[in-house]
Symmetry: none
Subunit: 195 residues, 4 copies
């Protein structure tokens, strides 16, 4: 596979991403992608064999970029509290973004493909986020920023609330105020002693 091939592969994935963002996962057909990419029907099959495969590759791309983005924006001398707030604010942005988000498509994909734990990227991300938050809380407790008796439980709680907000954003709709209120509630709980 030459350089040109790699470029084309990437081009297809980026274009397909837009299609998934717009239509979710299930509704997208190979034809949709072919048309969006303006390539030939057979051409697409040279690179990918199904929408499912394409979607998984799109998610892989997505994850990498997101990780890069987040770690880039952390300053060297940031406190635990700063970083947690930064993280929550990122999540809020993601939540409220109506366009340009794969959220719905990802849910649809996992509805259809109940992958075993090992391969379940979503689970890995969830667990890793919990661990990071737990670490931040721990650090915050140590530095006196936070008060928390069960950092692990609290981290999980935060993540489930975020998941709850995420799915609600896609189904019943959420306003920026609602998200702010929830985030504030979570944060206050940690800083409870400062009241």
């Amino acid at each position: 596979m030459g350089e040109k091939s790699i470029q084309k592969r990437k081009y297809i994935l980026e274009t397909a991403r837009k299609v998934f963002v717009e239509k979710g996962f299930k509704k997208v057909t190979m034809k949709d992608i072919v048309e969006a990419c303006d390539i030939s029907r057979g051409g697409l099959y040279l690179y990918f064999e199904s929408t499912s495969q394409i979607f998984q590759e799109v998610m892989k791309m997505e994850t990498q970029e997101a990780d890069d983005l987040f770690s880039d924006s952390i300053k060297e001398d940031a406190t635990a509290s700063d970083i947690l707030l930064l993280f929550l604010r990122e999540q809020k942005k993601e939540l409220l973004r109506k366009k340009d988000t794969l959220t719905q498509a990802i849910y649809e994909f996992y509805f259809e493909n109940q992958l075993p734990k090992k391969e379940n990227r979503l689970k890995k991300q969830f667990d890793s986020a919990v661990r990071i938050i737990e670490g931040l809380i721990g650090a915050g407790v140590e530095s006196g920023e936070f008060y928390c008796e069960d950092p692990a439980g609290c981290a999980r709680n935060i993540m489930f609330v975020l998941e709850g907000l995420k799915i609600c954003a896609q189904t019943i709709g959420v306003t920026p105020e609602m998200v702010d209120r929830e985030i504030l509630y979570l944060f206050k709980n940690l800083c409870v002693e400062e009241e």
Copy 2:
């Protein structure tokens, strides 16, 4: 439309429910329902005109039954704490039920049909649950069972966690232990002073 028609209508809805439970919403075709009901192609169209319509009617049925079930199981002399625990345990049961749950289908339906607030049954249910929990917490605080400075915020927090658990159950999978742990975490937070 005689008695028989009504019976058949109900029969179709009940059968269709099974199909939605098994396949979600989007994947279900009129043909699937026709075959599950063992009626003729045209016959189904006498009663319903689309999978979407059928699904909405199924949800309507579902909601009524669920409400009845829950209110039936509350004892006269139950305390706020009892009722809240009962509610959380109900949610747990629902969460862990892999089979016989419409959850996935409902999400899929609302992905596709971003109904305005007024008609959004899901939103109504969410809001009503928040109000009930808020009431329970308030009652619990008054009776000294609970300690909580922000019953409304806490109620919302509980509901978002439950939503988070629900979506996670459908995507990354949850174990009974995980659910117990979360529920316990929520409950403990309310009874914090008793520690």
Copy 3:
């Protein structure tokens, strides 16, 4: 078949007529008629067995009424020229009536059912009209109103022009002015010596 049956039969035909006027012949289904009549599906089949049969009965009704109407409007002391003009004016009215005309449906019916001459109501009407016009021209020539060397040929010519106008009205559209011009042309030709 009792009195009531006859009434219902008539009611169905009158209602069906409206449907044919609106939709032509081919497009009309038994369902359309059932719905327009607001009777039961099976009920219609007790009286008629196909749209084709219904349409033929509608045409039969139509013909009778038309004949009555025309002969009623002829005054006792009318001249040949008067009657011919009256006839042509009737045709004009019919031509320009967009709504409430079976013309299109009739054409469609005869396209599909190339009936043998004997049963072809349309042919009988055409021939009878030619004979009447021929008679009128003959009478007009005798009374000195018209000049015509070939009354039969002229009568046929008039009828073909009218047929031509009729079909054009249904396909390319005609204006009142166009019809007037043609009728005047036909009439002038008969009165040619008077110029």
Copy 4:
């Protein structure tokens, strides 16, 4: 779309033409054409999207060929009278052709699709024919072949008679003798002074 595609397109149109000739317009389904062409269901949709579209393209083809045919058969030194007779004889041939004529289908198409004047091919053809005949009569008058005080009116009269004959041929049936008689009547009227 390569050369082969163009060939296939043409092949489909030619085959579809036969189907329209045989069944008219309304009765023809995509399935009919698919079967006549012996291609796959989906294959036809690659080229055309409805019977209506196919029919319009068939008519376009038809018109071009007819124009070519007629203009080819006019000799250089023909008189107005010659050309008019040739034209009328062409019309007669067309009229009497039971098989291999789109007439019925065209009428059905225009019944269903009352196109605005601008797009109405039928109207354009009619008007253009009137103008040509008018020109021929004018030329004939000048050369002394014809006598006619109102060439435009006469041309229209001729065209309406031809339309009348055409529709009668499809509905009540016409014999060669009838057509001859009508054509002769029209022609005689022009040469009236020679009698």
